[in-house]
């Protein structure tokens, strides 16, 4: 009984102790709350002892800062930087002009306009070497003893990697133009345009989609020749590392590519390279019929007159399948083609015109020609270049030589029939039911990993779905469609 009562007393006591503890925390939340509301509040940078006197060596986590008003564009820091993360462009106003570049805080007359002063902090290694040579003390690490000079920023958080490039120059375009920096501005704009174009591509390189090659299935005369032609253009062009992508086994592909690269570095010609590759493969014991056929195909094409075959392939495609955009693109007037123009200025103008025309959807060749003519820059070389493109579009409609055509068609016939490319997993998205779709995708992936062909995979799908009792009419139709798509 006494134990029972003791238990109750002890229980009440510990109850009160616990309640008091939490209440203390609740009441003293002002002192005790440990949370830092991060974006709104920040800890100060800790002083870090790194074995040097802080006033002399301030390499605590920090960032470079430039007082651009004091910069005289002497380039000392750019030269000192071991990782080349500082980039300075300056423009010297022409003699006799009235432009005042300003005074530094050390009362030095500035003689240049700093049009660009960027520091890529993602490359900076905090060596501080740029700080010492500066004659005007205008570049320095922020933080530490310099904390009063500039606010501390220790996060370096940026939403994009580009944000790590800090631009300190504050000169306006007008000021640069006044100082005779027209050329510099053009150059900068060209770079920016190029950059923007690159961004718009989003890393996707436009490539010719490998068209399914089921040539013998359809017998319509023009179409049956075109698709294999596309195939030949791909495989019969220059012997590239990509040519070996047709090999389905990973190991074999690796070996083949290795051998290719070794041979290419040794400067061998296409036939020798192929021989090397074949040797490497058979040494590894990986030579199979499939690979043999690919190699054969590769070796046939370079030995023939490559150029006409390519041209013919391209032309046929344009002619008989005019609605294939990729095909047209092959002979498309591209901005890269303008690189053939030698004079920098002319090239810049031409490119600008090209981009403008591309945006507005005008005829690019005509637009470029007109712009160049207006600027008085249309010389013979540029004229030739442009003519070649406008000529190309004329040629497209010209009749194709029958000989090359039949040749490529023959080659197509050699193509192994069972080698149908597998359809995409996204093709299965047409299946409505979630469960069925999942199952189908699983079967597809298994088949793909095992390197099965389209027909085999479709058969697998049909079998697996029927077993699970999920093969309804809609799914059946989708499978049929996939089978007959090519």
């Amino acid at each position: 009984m006494s134990e029972y009562l003791n238990n109750i007393v002890y229980g009440v006591k510990s109850f009160l102790t616990g309640m008091k503890l939490t209440m203390d925390h609740f009441r003293n939340k002002k002192e005790l709350v440990a949370t830092l509301q991060y974006p709104h509040e920040k800890w100060p940078i800790p002083e870090r002892n790194i074995g040097f006197n802080h006033s002399e060596y301030n390499l605590i986590r920090s960032r470079l800062h430039v007082d651009i008003d004091d910069c005289i564009a002497c380039m000392q820091c750019e030269r000192a930087c071991p990782v080349d993360c500082i980039k300075i462009d300056s423009i010297k106003p022409p003699k006799g002009s009235e432009i005042d570049c300003g005074m530094t805080s050390n009362d030095t007359q500035k003689k240049m306009i700093v049009s660009r002063f960027t520091i890529d902090m993602s490359e900076c290694m905090y060596c501080n070497l740029c700080v010492f040579p500066c004659p005007e003390d205008c570049i320095y690490m922020v933080g530490g003893p310099n904390a009063e000079k500039h606010e501390i920023d220790y996060e370096f958080s940026q939403y994009k990697r580009d944000g790590m490039i800090f631009d300190f120059a504050d000169t306006t375009d007008e000021a640069i133009r006044d100082a005779g920096g027209e050329k510099w501005l053009d150059q900068r704009d060209a770079t920016l345009t190029k950059h923007n174009d690159g961004v718009q591509l989003k890393g996707e390189v436009k490539s010719v989609k490998p068209e399914p090659t089921a040539a013998p299935i359809k017998t319509g005369a023009p179409i049956s020749t075109t698709k294999p032609a596309a195939q030949t253009t791909e495989s019969s062009g220059e012997l590239e590392i990509k040519s070996f992508n047709g090999i389905s086994d990973k190991m074999c592909r690796g070996i083949a590519k290795k051998a290719f690269m070794a041979a290419k570095r040794a400067g061998k010609d296409a036939v020798a390279i192929l021989a090397d590759v074949a040797q490497a493969l058979s040494e590894a014991g990986k030579m199979s019929d499939e690979i043999q056929s690919i190699l054969d195909r590769l070796s046939v094409s370079p030995s023939k007159a490559v150029a006409p075959a390519v041209e013919a392939g391209g032309d046929i495609k344009v002619e008989s399948v005019p609605d294939t955009p990729e095909a047209v693109e092959m002979k498309e007037f591209d901005i890269k083609d303008l690189n053939a123009i030698e004079d920098k200025m002319v090239r810049g103008t031409a490119k600008k015109a090209f981009i403008a025309a591309k945006r507005s959807g005008e005829d690019k060749v005509e637009a470029v020609r007109k712009t160049l003519a207006d600027a008085g820059k249309l010389d013979a070389a540029a004229e030739d270049l442009l003519n070649s493109f406008s000529g190309a579009s004329v040629e497209l409609s010209a009749p194709v030589e029958v000989a090359t055509l039949s040749e490529s068609a023959e080659e197509a016939a050699v193509e192994p029939k069972g080698d149908l490319p597998l359809f995409e997993i996204s093709d299965l998205n047409g299946i409505d039911d979630k469960m069925t779709r999942g199952m189908a995708k699983k079967i597809f992936m298994v088949g793909k990993r095992a390197g099965k062909t389209r027909t085999e995979v479709i058969a697998d799908l049909r079998l697996g779905l029927t077993e699970a009792g999920k093969l309804d009419d809609a799914t059946d139709a989708i499978l049929n469609k996939l089978k007959s798509e090519n």
């Binding site: 029972y4 109750i8 109850f15 616990g18 309640m19 503890l21 939490t22 209440m23 925390h25 609740f26 939340k29 002002k30 005790l32 709350v33 440990a34 949370t35 509301q37």
Partner: protein
Amino acid sequence: MTSIFDSLQQSLAFLNLDLFMLLSLIALLGGTVIFLVMAVNALVAVYFERKVSAFMQDRLGPMEVGILGFKGGKKFWGGIGQTLADAIKLLTKEDILPKSSDKFLMILAPFIIFSGAFLTFIGVPFAQNIVISDFNIGLFYIVAMSSIGVIGIILAGWSSNNKWSLYGAMRAAAQIISYEIPIGLSLLLVVIVSGSLHLGDIVQWQESNRWFIFHSPFTFLAFFIYFISIVAETNRTPFDIPEAESELVAGWMTEYSGFRWALFFLSEYANMLIVCIVASIVFLGGWLSPLHLINIFPESWYILDGPLLGLFWVSFKAVILIFIMMWFRWTFPRLRVDQLMYVCWKVFIPFALANLFFVSLWELIF
């Protein structure tokens, strides 16, 4: 004019509806009021609970979400929109029914639990005469209705076809049924003294005498037995073994999601409010101001009482009790099942029975 029901019936008499239509209209209005009270209570209480828990653990709790750009206090009480955002999230979530569950019962269960809480509210007075329907056996009605929830809990646990759910449901049933005994015995004490089951009469008695908690040492003890038992009755820590995240995932709620889970949540916080209001009415003087504690002041002092202030006092006392329940929750670790039963059957029930005996003697003597 002793309840909202009566006053609505009188003020809507001019519509000349037949009785059935009139009663339906009144029920609809009353139900809407109850539902609003429940919803607002859950919104506020969840926010309050998160803040209390955060401060007791040296954190800040929700600080970022605001309503129309207003986040609340900068320093500690920010993030006032958090629970509203959570509620919207819950309602838009996918509603999952496990394949092998008993679908009909699983859908039914949350509504039974919700109805239990909802029906209880009908008899709960928020102030003098501010009660949906004024029963003369109000206390009995509330105790009876708050037991309906346990049927829903068992249904939820059984129909989920999940061992965690079933364990949780069985534990919850055992716990709730056990703890109803000390609750009933403590309330019986008050009924013996005041001689009425009508909540208004009980408060009336306290007005003419003193608050029940200070009536005698036995009622004082009875209050604590009652209060700790209602913590167990509402399945809150330290008595939350039916939910017990660390052992049972979420007990009988494991398989629920979205709207139905929100209903559980709503009922849980509604039950909290109900038991706290009952505690404040029965033991803490209800809508009487603290001046009635011992009743020694002259009559003119009692300006602190009144219909509106009565509402304030009831909610004030209930909020204090809810805060204490939260305080419990963030202080004590969970009890084991045997400890839980030990506390109920070996401590509370003997003490409550002894209380009953002694308070009868007390009444006989004084």
